[in-house]
Every structure is written in structure tokens, then in C-alpha cells.
């Protein structure tokens, strides 16, 4: 496990909630921010703030250097070939919508297929539903195995020569399942389809390598990986991005503007209309530095250990069911569960009264809830700052919830 010293970098963790030291187990929704990220944003606003790519003045140069420096940092972080393949967006949702609206509208037609799975977040479902409606294409879902994993046989039998786009989550935000993206990408390519990866829950937790995966697009958000909200990334292969049309038009993204016709800047800027998210990108770069100093492999290991421990300890509570892969090595640090007849909102309220933050609800994955045959679940998600003590507090809190509601019933 990682050193508990890591917690000292996160000022927010050092507080009491409802009279108890905070145990934050909702990093799957958004992670906390280390002081390094907060300071980087502060430094930008205090010493560099200016618009990028236009000013001749010194501040303009500083801001541009920091912003483009952040892009290079992201390139290395995901092992892209070039910074031309790294587009800054508002987050995973915007990244996925950009692919659907730009690549999708240009390349998908009636009779084609778009393939996703039952474990997708709404942000990797609705853009494709809309695209399918607009174009007359068919949206197909790959069935899940009973333990909430994907089998390559199911993948093979769903993807056909009519499939144009396959879009799949790398790590499920509900089940914690880690999907075999490299193998699925290969199958998609054999049928001439492109592979889109929703990396929102993967980027914070494991080493990403787009060249090794060979995926065509990868989307992720800064705020789940210790960075600020409002910044995300769309990685795309250069040869695809080059022929794609922008979906946002305005300042910053143009080469030349005439009265009736305009031309676009080169990659990646043609996809970044308007003043970009400068402070966000700088914050994200600081988050990458922070994570890389600890080591993504170490972080992944830490989370596997926490997930294994949580599953073991939570299983001792009678009536508690855990969803998703039984084998902790097949899941990231996400444990989704239900406690008997106690509704997850009620569980979450009892935990909150004990200073413990978990998510309760449908986790923006209503089709998956349907597949799990429940309307809502509770979710504990772990990150690098969580400890074994946090899990003990969670288990104690769950026992309290169980006793409390047993008493009432």
C-alpha cells in the first residue's frame, strides 16, 4: 500500500464531517485535489494570466508556454505520437460528443451499426443514441457476463462488417470492471470499425498507452485524476482528426476568416474554438506530475489492494451484496453494493452522519442498473489517499446502518 503521508497533500481531507474525521469514498465521482494542483492554478492566475496564442506581450507568452506545456505533458502521459493528437475539452462528455458529432455524422449512415455495452455511463450512451437516430444507424449492445465482465466471444459476435464505431468504457464506474480494450480494438479494426475508449475511470488509476492499445479515440476528464473540473482530453489519431470537421466555431480555431468562407487552424487548435481552458490545462498538468511522481503502477496496485480488502471485510456483513467481478484483480478501486432492504440513499445518509462520503443512486448508468435488476446502488470508490482505516470506518458505518434499520423494521 502507498504511504499515508500522501494524505497530507490533500488539505480537504483534514476536516470533520458531522463530528467525525472525513472518510472520502466518492473519488469515482470526482477526486480531491492535492495542494500542488491548487498552487499551480493559483500561480497561473497570480503571475501568468493572459490569453494564449495572440498576445505579443510577456504574459501572453508565459500563458501560451504553460498551456502548450500542459499539452505535451498529456501527450507523454498517454503516449500519443504527437501533441497534434491531444485536444483539450471540457471533459469526457464533451470529448465523446465531439467524436459522435464530427466523426460520426461524417462516417455513419443508414444501415450501419454502432456498438457499445450494457456497462456504459450515460455519456457514452446518449451521444450514440442521438447519432443512430439522426443517421438511421443501429445501436447495438454487447451483453455482459454474469459477473459483469465482457467476454471476447460476445464482442466478436456483436461486432460485424456493418459496424462503423465501437465505443467502450475502459473501467466501469459502477462495476469497477477493467475491460480488455486492446483485444476489443483489434476485433473492431478487423471489421473496419474505429475504436473509441471512455477512459474517465481509467486515466486516474492505470497507465494509459494509446499506441499500445491502438484505439482511435480516447476520452477522459481532469477532475477524476486530481485535476480541476472543467478540463478534459480527447485523444484522436492524427489521420482521423485531420479530416474531421470542428463542431465549435469562433475565435482561436480559425486560420483565415472571410465574409462568406473561413478556414481552420491546424491540429489540435481547430477543435478548440474560443478562449481555451487555460487554468484547467495547467492544473491538469500539475495533477499528472503529482500522479507520475507516485507512479501509476503503484496507484493501481494500491487500489487493487484496497478493493480486495474492502470486498473481504464488507462480505462479513450479512445481507450485503457486492456487484461486479468477484476477483478483485479484475476490478479497479470501485465497490458497488446494496445492504438488504435498506435503500442506498438511506445507507448513504447514515454513512454521512458518520463522516463517510459514498455515492448512492444510479451512477449515471440506468441501463446497467436495469441489467443488475435494481434501481439504485451504493458505491464506495477508492483513490491513492484512502487507507485501510477508511475501509474499517466504512464497514463500521455499514454495520450501524444495518442495526439502525433492523431496529426500526
Amino acid at each position: 500500500m502507498l504511504s499515508k503521508e500522501i494524505r497530507s497533500h490533500f488539505p480537504i481531507l483534514n476536516q470533520e464531517i458531522n463530528g467525525y474525521p472525513l472518510v472520502y469514498l466518492d473519488s469515482g465521482a470526482t477526486s480531491q485535489k492535492p495542494v500542488q494542483v491548487i498552487e499551480a492554478i493559483k500561480k497561473y492566475y497570480e503571475f501568468e494570466n493572459s490569453n494564449v496564442h495572440r498576445g505579443v506581450h510577456t504574459l501572453g507568452n508565459r500563458a501560451t508556454e504553460s498551456y502548450e506545456g500542459a499539452r505535451e505533458k498529456v501527450r507523454k502521459f498517454i503516449n500519443a505520437r504527437s501533441t497534434q493528437e491531444v485536444i483539450f475539452t471540457r471533459g469526457t462528455t464533451t470529448s465523446l460528443n465531439t467524436v459522435a458529432q464530427s466523426y460520426g455524422r461524417a462516417n455513419v449512415k443508414e444501415g450501419d451499426e454502432i456498438v457499445i455495452t450494457h456497462m456504459e455511463h450515460h455519456s457514452n450512451i446518449i451521444p450514440w443514441q442521438q447519432l443512430a437516430k439522426e443517421t438511421g444507424a443501429t445501436l447495438k449492445y454487447i451483453d455482459l457476463e454474469e459477473d459483469g465482465t465482457l467476454s471476447l466471444d460476445q464482442v466478436r459476435s456483436t461486432i460485424t462488417d456493418k459496424t462503423k464505431i465501437v465505443s467502450i468504457v475502459y473501467v466501469s464506474n459502477v462495476l469497477g470492471t477493467m475491460n480488455p480494450i486492446k483485444e476489443i480494438t483489434q476485433i473492431a479494426h478487423e471489421h473496419g470499425a474505429i475504436m473509441v475508449v471512455d477512459g474517465a475511470q481509467a486515466a486516474p488509476h492505470l497507465k494509459l498507452d494509446v499506441q499500445n492499445l491502438d484505439c482511435d479515440f480516447l476520452a477522459f476528464s481532469g477532475h477524476k485524476m486530481c485535476g480541476p473540473t472543467g478540463i478534459g482530453v480527447l485523444y484522436g489519431k492524427k489521420e482521423l482528426l485531420e479530416v474531421m470537421e470542428p463542431i465549435e466555431f469562433g475565435g482561436e480555431m480559425i486560420d483565415f476568416v472571410g465574409l462568406y468562407e473561413s478556414t481552420w487552424k491546424e491540429l489540435p487548435w481547430k477543435f478548440e474554438g474560443g478562449t481555451p481552458i487555460i487554468a484547467g490545462a495547467i492544473g491538469l498538468a500539475a495533477a499528472i506530475d503529482f500522479l507520475e511522481e507516485i507512479g501509476l503502477d503503484e496507484i493501481e496496485k494500491h487500489e487493487h489492494e484496497l478493493a480486495a480488502l474492502a470486498m473481504e471485510k464488507m462480505s462479513t456483513i450479512e445481507g450485503l451484496s457486492i456487484y461486479g467481478p468477484v476477483d478483485p484483480s479484475k476490478r479497479a478501486g470501485i465497490v458497488t453494493f446494496n445492504l438488504n432492504d435498506v435503500h442506498p440513499h438511506d445507507v448513504a445518509t447514515v454513512l454521512d452522519m458518520n463522516g463517510i462520503a459514498v455515492r448512492a443512486g444510479h451512477h449515471c448508468a440506468q441501463p446497467l442498473m436495469k441489467w443488475l435488476q435494481c434501481t439504485a446502488t451504493a458505491r464506495a470508490s477508492f483513490y491513492l489517499y484512502n487507507t485501510e482505516e477508511d475501509i474499517d470506518r466504512l464497514v463500521a458505518g455499514l454495520r450501524t446502518a444495518k442495526e439502525y434499520f433492523n431496529d426500526v423494521f
Partner: protein, 145 residues
């Protein structure tokens, strides 16, 4: 453990309505039907109302949700049955004020509903409590059109 705080939210009468919901089910014929979701958490209510001559003759609900949303639905149906539409809407206003922590009209006996008073101190749960009432308001206002 702060079970006192919890007791403020989960009063005995709430748990009783949750465990033994009143008016659970659906009115079949000639009833107003309202379906409402709470999109942030997945709670769902299916409310049917029988309104005749400006009076709520019958009210039933079905749905899925937490103890607060389901007990509130149970209490709401209990409270509005036999009431004039205006009285039902007046109760709804009082309930809404109660949830927002505002001063509310205490000249009307609220019965079991009073027990939901503590919800106002749990901002994340207010929407759970108001779902059924919103559904009722929607149904009644459609009827009045």
C-alpha cells in the same frame, strides 16, 4: 454514533409508512395517472388519482425509492383522500414550506406528515420527500385545465 441525528430524520412514523405503505397500488378506471422520476437518484413514482366534483375521492401510488420518498408518498395519499382539490394544493404548499425550512401555516393539522419535518435539515434528501407531492400537483393541475 450520532443516532440522535438520525432519529431526527427517520422518525418511527416514517418507518411505519415505509414498511406498511398506505394506498399502495394503482386505480384502474378513469383515474388521472402521473409518472414522475427523480433523475438524480432514480426514484420513481406512479400516482393515480380519482377526482370527482373537485374532490380527491381516491389516491394510490406505486414506485421505487428510499424510505423518505416512499413514506412521503404514503402520507401524501393518506392526507389528500377526501379533500377538496384546493385543500390538497394548500397542503402541498405547506409541505413545500416545511421542506424549505420556512415558517408554515400550522393552523391545519398535518397528522403524520409532521414527522417529515426533520428532512429539511438534510438538504440532499428534500427532493426525495417532495417527489410524490410534485406528482400530485401536476396531476391536479392537469385536471383543472
Amino acid at each position: 454514533m450520532s443516532s440522535n441525528n438520525l432519529d431526527q430524520l427517520y422518525r418511527q412514523v416514517i418507518m411505519d409508512h415505509y414498511k406498511n405503505p398506505r394506498n399502495k397500488g394503482s386505480i384502474e378506471d378513469g383515474a388521472l395517472t402521473i409518472d414522475m422520476n427523480n433523475p438524480t437518484c432514480g426514484d420513481r413514482i406512479h400516482l393515480t388519482l380519482q377526482v370527482e366534483d373537485g374532490v380527491v375521492q381516491n389516491a394510490k401510488f406505486d414506485g421505487e425509492g428510499c424510505s423518505i420518498s416512499m413514506s412521503s408518498a404514503s402520507m401524501m395519499t393518506q392526507a389528500i383522500k377526501g379533500k377538496k382539490v384546493e385543500e390538497a394544493l394548500q397542503l402541498s404548499t405547506i409541505f413545500s414550506d416545511m421542506m424549505l425550512g420556512k415558517e408554515y401555516d400550522d393552523s391545519i393539522d398535518l397528522g403524520d406528515i409532521e414527522a417529515l419535518n426533520g428532512v429539511s435539515k438534510f438538504p440532499a434528501r428534500i427532493k426525495c420527500a417532495t417527489l410524490a407531492w410534485k406528482a400530485m400537483e401536476k396531476g391536479v393541475s392537469e385536471e383543472q385545465k
